[in-house]
């Protein structure tokens, strides 16, 4: 059955659409003994027309959403992602064990990320200050604008978004690799056979830990970013300490911090769930675990950027 030009069938949200045509390859026309024939890339000549596939690359929205058999479409992954989320939030078997695992994950995903967050924040704050200062040429612009710009950039965008992208790399790959390894070593099957809700047991503590710890990391980043700007500004003499501190206090709106923390919590959820999804459905061996890990970072970065735009539109405009 077709509807709006799409080959509609029951269960299309969860299952890939079967391939529509044969195993033909790309062909081009040749002339053999005065007769037009098709020849494929392997040099095989057909009498008349070869069985061709319309196109190897998807050209319609439907083809992108539901590609030929063997490749899963975006719709399939989105559907399966939400089914996984449902399983994750189903009732835990032993709350005490989940709490213990959450504390362990808070240490692993949060506390152990403080170092990289601190280092990045200090240097990024310093760079923002120097770049702002070097771009202000007009004499009528007051010196405190450097501090003001460093504060606004750090709180609104750098700390919540850039640090979340960095955490997607560090924490996201860690989550995908850990869960993916458990999948290929049959440890997740072992949990399922014991009657444990493997999705909930493995992933829920990571989501809760990320959503609790990332706002703290971002607050540390905000403080250290602004501090790094002060160090660079005062240290190099491009702005005085008084002007910088006046700038970071000037026209401060506490809502910007609230906005940044809301973004951070959403990004934390995205990092943990997208990475866990990639790990949980890993198939194969160690190579596939690596691929899942890479996909976890790439896809969570893409989703973070899209969510960043949507949240900014919703919360700031």
């Amino acid at each position: 059955m077709t509807f709006l030009g799409f080959p509609w069938r029951p269960g299309w949200l969860l299952h890939p659409v079967p391939s529509s045509s044969a195993k033909a390859r790309a062909v081009h026309s040749v002339e053999v003994r005065g007769r037009k024939c098709d020849m494929d890339l392997g040099g095989r000549i057909y009498k008349g027309r070869a069985p061709t596939r319309p196109s190897e690359s998807p050209t319609t929205l439907w083809a992108i959403l539901a590609p030929p058999k063997g490749r899963m479409g975006i719709v399939f992954h989105i559907g399966r992602y939400f089914l996984l989320i449902r399983d994750i939030f189903s009732r835990p078997e032993r709350m005490r064990l989940y709490l213990r695992r959450t504390v362990e994950e808070m240490d692993l995903l949060g506390v152990k990320s403080v170092g990289i967050v601190a280092l990045l924040s200090v240097f990024m704050g310093a760079v923002i200050t120097i770049q702002t200062s070097s771009n202000i040429d007009a004499a009528w612009i007051p010196a405190y604008v450097v501090g003001f710009t460093a504060r606004q950039s750090t709180i609104l965008e750098f700390s919540p978004t850039i640090i979340s992208l960095i955490l997607a790399g560090k924490v996201g790959s860690n989550i995908a690799a850990e869960i993916g390894s458990m999948r290929v070593k049959e440890q997740i099957d072992a949990l399922d056979i014991m009657g444990v809700n493997s999705a909930g047991y493995l992933i829920l503590p990571k989501i809760v830990a990320s959503m609790l710890m990332n706002p703290f990391l971002v607050m540390i980043s905000m403080f250290l970013g602004i501090f790094g700007g002060w160090l660079a500004g005062v240290g190099t003499g491009i702005v005085s300490s008084v002007d910088y501190i006046h700038g970071i206090q000037y026209d401060f709106d506490p809502y910007t911090v609230t906005y940044a923390l809301i973004k951070t919590v959403v990004f934390a959820f995205v990092i943990a769930t997208v990475a866990a999804y990639q790990g949980y459905y890993t198939r194969g061996g160690t190579r596939e675990v690596g691929i899942s890990s890479t996909k976890a970072v790439v896809y969570s970065n893409v989703v973070i950027l899209i969510a960043n735009y949507a949240l900014t539109q919703l919360l700031l405009i």
Binding site: K69, K185, E186, Q187, D189, D192, M194, G195
Partner: protein, 253 residues
């Protein structure tokens, strides 16, 4: 007792299992044998519910597993112990923590009692002195024994062993086979062993099912296995030189 009725499983266009009917009896070591890729591991995974069959059903004491709701399925799964081909021990937990894991998830007992129970299980498989080590610090044979200890921690009614001897030396294989047999008798479990190791079949096989091309090709006991005139079964059983010598010796009387 576990019954399998008309079980069929397909992956894409590949028909892996085709109308399997079998009964696995309580207190006996039921062995499923067959070539690599014949579908025996898929059969085990369908029975424990890791794969959903397209057709047929699996009955645990007469109750159809795939028609149960999630709560009932979890109840059945808590009665299942499984030893995986690669042991599937949790890397980040010690041997003791691995054995205690199902207890800490489902048993209503204080931690000290759980620890005692885990120690009993480890003692049963003769590996008590390794309880503080991590899986990576012990040998493959020991990992299998820890896997058995974890599988029996909850006093299972059903024990599944997927290729319990793979990657083990002959002596350790015999040790694992004996352990499976003893545990089956001791706990009166319905034990299903998936294997293609003929030594293991001759050691412990009480009821043997031969899977070929996704179908149940043959069923019988050890003596019947050696005297069968089924061509595909004979090709599989007597592929090794040792088994061929056994056959010759039998023919000479």
């Amino acid at each position: 007792m576990i019954q399998v009725e008309g079980l069929s499983k397909r992956f894409g266009d590949l028909q892996v299992l085709n109308g399997i009917d079998a009964t696995f009896e309580k207190g006996r070591v039921n062995q499923v044998i067959g070539k690599s890729g014949s579908g025996k591991s898929v059969l085990a995974k369908c029975i424990v519910g890791l794969h959903k069959p397209e057709e047929g059903r699996v009955l645990y004491e007469g109750r159809s597993f795939h028609e149960m709701d999630d709560k009932e399925k979890r109840g059945i799964r808590q009665e299942i112990g499984m030893l995986f081909q690669g042991s599937a021990l949790f890397d980040s937990m010690t041997v003791l923590q691995n054995v205690m894991f199902p207890l800490s998830m489902f048993a209503d007992m204080p931690p000290s009692e759980m620890e005692d129970r885990a120690h009993q299980c480890l003692q049963r498989v003769n590996i008590l002195d390794k309880d503080a080590l991590f899986p990576a610090q012990i040998s493959g044979g020991m990992q299998k024994r820890v896997g058995i200890a974890r599988a029996i921690a909850m006093n299972p009614k059903y024990l599944f062993c997927d290729e319990p001897n793979s990657g083990l030396d002959p002596q350790t294989s015999i040790l694992i086979d004996d352990l499976i047999k003893e545990i089956t008798e001791e706990f009166a479990t319905t034990t299903i062993v998936i294997t293609h190791d003929m030594n293991s079949v001759m050691e412990t096989g009480e009821k043997i099912i031969f899977i070929h091309d996704g179908r149940k090709w043959w069923e019988g006991d050890r003596d019947e296995l050696l005297n069968s005139d089924n061509a595909e079964l004979n090709e599989f059983v007597f592929a090794g030189s040792l088994m061929r010598q056994v056959k010759k010796a039998m023919e000479k009387g």
